[in-house]
Amino acid sequence: MIGLTEAAFDPGALLSEFSLARQEVGAIASFTGLARAEAGQTQVLELEAYPGFTEARIAKIAEQARERFGLADLIVLHRVGKIGPGEPIVFVATASRHRRQAFEACDFLMDYLKSRAPFWKKEHGPDGARWIEPRAQDHADVARWEQEKKS
């Protein structure tokens, strides 16, 4: 399942549902990203997407993860719109036969979502608003997977 939502969501409920009625899945890993308050500097985080295109790009990333790690199933749910500190922004869950694939696929999906999925993030704070650029670390994180594939 891949989705964008303007509404707040409950990662626990999503994980419970994702774990139900699995016969051949031995491992489920999940990741929840939360909006940080940054000591009051971020009062609201605003996430913009390109409707249609964003879902299609995430579907491509998900397809790569499925193939590369042999996943049985996965979820990517991403918030858009205005998000308060402490609220979940993104939820990823992966299901596979063995744990390593589930862990690595979660890591892979998040690295790609951080800097290769069409989202733009604006931080609203007491001193105004600013757009957040991907960090050098985000690019380095995603590059790991491309190097590993080549080697």
Binding site: E48, F53, H78, K114, R116, W120, K121, E133, P134
Partner: protein, 79 residues
């Protein structure tokens, strides 16, 4: 003529999100935008800005059909 979409900081810089722009190639659209707003023209040519035509990423020069949707996508930051 194409429907041009701006996202993230490009939208704030230009002060609009969507507009019809004359041009039958990407270069013509860029030139038109540059002529109207030099800062925007420079920003969309900047490093890390990708272009999608009808929701498919393109590289380099492409022709633009009359009803095309052309999006300028600044560096992405999700999660």
């Amino acid at each position: 003529m194409a429907r041009v979409l701006l996202f993230g900081p490009l939208r704030d810089l230009a002060g609009w999100r969507e507009r019809e722009v004359e041009g039958s190639t990407l270069a013509e659209l860029r030139a038109r935008l540059q002529a109207e707003d030099a800062a925007l023209g420079e920003a969309i040519a900047g490093p890390g800005v990708q272009v999608a035509v009808d929701q498919a990423l393109v590289r380099g020069e492409v022709s633009i059909s009359a009803s095309a949707e052309v999006a300028f996508l600044p560096p992405m930051s999700g999660g």
